[in-house]
Symmetry: C2
């Protein structure tokens, strides 16, 4: 397999920590990231960008202020810019995130879950 | 399931034609499209943008001038802007494309395979 072919499962096998997205590809000025999610994140929003979640495995709930969005494998949801959301997963979820480079995972909330995005 | 939760398999079940990407979600000024691929496309490039291919099912070959890139399910590849490529699939492939809105499938080549992108 060529080095620039990205196998999502392979990339997800390279780390175990939760809430720490890893960049695996670049599309213009956007980053494609993989992330492992378990437990409850922090309520936050991204003022300047939409954020795409695509679930690879597991069941992800994205809490919005007015409803919960539930995603299973092969399902995606785009959180619109400025919309407060809080990802939650009872059991571990593997997901893909796509958003502009430099987007901070905790958005406007900051705090201890803020991650530096490494590349895999 | 909420209307704005996008199930890729559901969307792919709604059409049968090849080489005719359907927009299923929007991420800022980018479109997420699903496409069915079979046979050989046309050599082309996109002068102004990278193009992301993510294979959902089947085996996709993206011919480049100096090598072939082969993708299976769960694998993605970003064709860099300006790089000539020609997608080929012996058997039907289901894939996701992500690129800026307005990107024409045949790029600089044009011709009869040029598709108008409908939304699903």
């Amino acid at each position: 397999m060529d080095a620039d072919v990205i196998d999502l499962a392979d990339k997800l096998s390279l780390f175990s920590e939760h809430w720490s997205p890893k960049a695996v590809a670049r599309l213009n000025d956007y980053e494609v990231k993989v992330v492992k999610i378990k437990g409850e994140f922090v309520w936050h929003s991204h003022e300047h960008t939409d954020e795409l979640f695509l679930v690879i495995s597991g069941r992800l709930t994205i809490r919005l202020r007015d409803r919960d969005v539930v995603l299973g494998p092969g399902q995606l949801f785009v959180v619109p810019r400025g919309v407060e959301h809080c990802p939650v997963a009872e059991d571990e979820v593997h997901a893909v995130l796509i958003e502009p480079e430099g987007t901070v995972n905790t958005g406007d909330a900051g705090g201890p879950l803020t991650a530096v995005v490494e590349s895999l």
